[in-house]
């Protein structure tokens, strides 16, 4: 296992499809050339009766519903970057051999681990819209031949038996060479390599020797290695500009997949995502998301981005988008034996983000009391990762029933007899007061906006204990004691 070749057949077609949701299932062909000379270069399996090399007019006649599209260079660049990022997860020594094809040097790699990684790679690439095939062999050529017929992974161990039945075209002979070899009755690589190399050289010249070497899978070359990406950014344009969430999310998913692959290939994860939307009115909407837990999982990114985008309203259509991931090393930690951390931190923080979007930013969190005697003063803060040990209970345990607040308080009209509440009327009921306890005077902030209230606890004749507040502005029911 020295080399692996990752290949995507009909690369332009798949690159175009993964960039446009409407083309996912329709009969599709990639055209080449213009006007009367236009021919079909690549064709999807749905276009029944159409073959590569066919004139466009014939293709349209044979498959009336066919969609004909030229190549999309931007989509191909993106797909190629995704393929290279996937290859970089197998080994850091990768060559971008051609469009939709890359070669990986696997020298020194653990065969068992690499085999598992390759299966994972093929599965994930297929999920990302690129059905890849992988050929593995001792030379680049053998790996390349294997990639052409792999379904989807072929590891060549017996080279002679593998090469023998392959058609001669695999070794890429010239037209003249094909003519000569066919006249000799040679149609396969095995038939060619059965002949002595020197004899072939005498009859077909240097080209013949090169052809024989290619047929034997022996032709060696040095890989032109690529540099792994240093920044993790995706940028794309919308033509025409988009107004709704669906097309925005489709491309966002595709480009995020590539950025995530690049991060994984570098052994990194994203700690922050910055999303910038450029609008048609030349303004921009930028938002940075700190991920609850650093991750290179696209699903987790998209949950955060989707939640935010659902709440975004812009004055103009979106023309261009930039998604940038701030990389960091993956978090490695071991919880203590008695730690009560989160079982699934990612879900926990994602759900909090969703709740924030649902009920409002200031309405979800862990309550923390503000150091004041003023009633109902607290803030909601980010919950702690792990719950600290509880402090001993207070010396004076709380007494009486517990307050449930009415927010806002119910305005009440109270009849006072001897400065004690006797009857109450509020929007929800009117009743006599059986018992009243109080008052408790509390006040504060005399240096700023002084406040002063008088608290009573009242029990109604028809049951129910309530907290009554009396201020200089009148009375109100603050809550029920339950």
């Amino acid at each position: 296992m020295n080399f692996a070749v990752l290949q995507i057949q009909n690369f332009s077609l798949h690159a175009l499809r993964r960039n446009d949701a409407h083309l996912a299932t329709c009969p599709l062909a990639i055209t080449q050339g213009e006007g009367r000379h236009a021919i079909v270069a690549e064709v999807s399996p749905e276009a029944v009766g159409v073959e590569a090399g066919m004139a466009v007019t014939i293709a349209m006649a044979r498959c009336p519903g066919i969609t004909l599209q030229p190549r999309d260079p931007a989509a191909e660049v993106e797909a190629q970057r995704l393929l290279l990022a996937a290859a970089l997860t197998l080994s850091p020594r990768v060559e971008a051999t051609a469009a939709g094809c890359c070669t990986v040097d696997l020298k020194g790699a653990d065969p068992t681990k690499t085999a598992i990684q390759m299966r994972q790679c093929v599965t994930e690439l297929a999920q990302n819209g690129l059905p890849a095939r992988i050929g593995v062999g001792t030379t680049i050529l053998i790996a390349s031949y294997a990639a052409r017929i792999a379904e989807p992974i072929l590891h060549v161990t017996d080279e002679t038996n593998f090469l023998h039945p392959l058609p001669l075209a695999f070794a890429e002979p010239t037209a003249r060479q094909i003519e000569i070899l066919t006249s000799w009755g040679i149609h396969t690589l095995g038939a060619l390599t059965d002949l002595p190399k020197a004899e072939i050289g005498e009859r077909l010249g240097t080209g013949g020797i090169h052809l024989w070497e290619r047929a034997a899978g022996q032709k060696e070359r040095v890989l032109k290695l690529i540099e792994p990406p240093q920044s993790y950014v995706a940028q794309w344009r919308y033509e025409p500009p988009v107004e709704s969430l669906e097309p925005l999310l489709f491309k966002l998913t595709r480009y995020a997949e590539r950025v995530a692959w690049e991060l994984k290939a570098s052994g990194l994860v994203a700690q922050e995502l910055t999303l910038t939307l450029f609008l048609e009115d030349e303004t921009e909407h930028r938002r940075t998301f700190r991920l609850p837990e650093p991750s290179a999982e696209v699903d987790r990114w998209l949950r955060v981005l989707h939640t935010h985008l659902e709440t975004v309203r812009t004055n103009a259509s979106v023309t261009e988008v930039i998604l940038a991931a701030a990389p960091t090393r993956p978090l490695e930690k071991q919880d203590g034996l008695f730690d009560t951390g989160l079982k699934d931190p990612a879900t926990f923080w994602e759900n909090l983000a969703r709740l924030n979007a649902l009920v409002g930013n200031d309405r979800v969190g862990t309550p923390v009391m503000i150091d004041t005697h003023r009633p109902d003063q607290f803030t909601l803060e980010k919950p702690p990762e792990s719950i600290p040990t509880a402090t001993p209970p207070p010396l004076h345990p709380p007494c009486g029933l517990t307050l449930r607040r009415f927010r806002p308080a119910w305005p009440a009209h109270v009849l006072w007899i001897d400065d004690r509440p006797s009857q109450i009327e509020c929007p929800h009921f009117a009743d006599a007061i059986r018992t009243a306890v109080g008052p408790w005077q509390i006040s504060g902030d005399w240096w700023r906006d002084a406040w002063s209230v008088e608290l009573w606890q009242i029990e109604l004749a028809s049951h129910g204990v309530y907290q009554l507040v009396r201020t200089k502005n009148g009375c109100s029911l603050e809550g029920i004691l339950d």
Partner: protein
């Protein structure tokens, strides 16, 4: 190279086919901090099930039970989510230290409360998810389609959390456990420690597996 994984996969498939395993349901209880409730429910709020606590009378101790639950889970360092349908929870009624484990969701409407419950019941990070629907319009609560409750029950089945629903009247169809507070408390308890009040609460089990078993025995 692929012989070992293939053999292993085949072996696993064979074992799975010959010895099909019933999916494991979360089990156990979360002590509620109120002895009467723990006794009725067989040890506390059942994990993976809905428990409905109906406060049929005003000032019948529903909020006191919730606060006791918060104190008990705080001692055990278990996380609790409180979906506060009417935004009525008063954090100052608990010591500041007893709030570290609480996630409080302050809703404004019934829709928000049910949407939040739907998210949190699937979360898996909470020992208890409490949905407090008291204070919301009873008419709106009764308009909730039964499917909403069944959906929550199905989600709770798979969840490692106990799901407590506090309601002003019996609402949850086919709920496994329904406890009812019918006795209103009075201002006499004004100086009584809350622990003592909680110990004296009259809680009635109207619906539940334990109740059914007891009736069977009596029959």
């Amino acid at each position: 190279m692929s012989a070992t994984p293939t053999t292993l996969t085949a072996l696993r498939s064979l074992l799975a086919a010959r010895f099909p395993e019933k999916p494991r349901k979360p089990q156990g209880h979360v002590p509620s901090g109120v002895t009467a409730i723990d006794q009725l429910l067989g040890g506390g709020l059942p994990i993976g099930q809905l428990t409905e606590l109906v406060s049929q009378a005003p000032s019948s101790g529903g909020q006191l039970i919730l606060n006791r639950l918060l104190l008990a889970t705080r001692q055990a360092r278990q996380r609790v989510a409180l979906i506060d349908g009417a935004d009525a929870f008063a954090p100052e009624t608990l010591p500041a230290d007893a709030l570290h484990h609480l996630i409080w969701v302050r809703c404004r409407t019934t829709t928000e409360a049910f949407a939040a419950a739907d998210l949190l019941v699937r979360d898996g990070n909470y020992a208890v998810v409490a949905l407090d629907l008291r204070g919301l319009l009873e008419k709106r609560l009764r308009q909730q389609p039964a499917a909403t409750w069944y959906r929550l029950q199905r989600a709770a089945d798979e969840s490692p959390s106990a799901f407590l629903v506090l309601t002003p009247c019996p609402l949850v169809p086919a709920v496994p456990w329904r406890l009812v507070l019918q006795t209103p408390l009075s201002l006499v308890t004004h100086h009584t420690p809350q622990e003592e009040i909680a110990a004296q609460l009259t809680v009635e089990l109207i619906r539940g597996h334990a109740h059914a078993a007891k009736e069977e025995l009596a029959g």
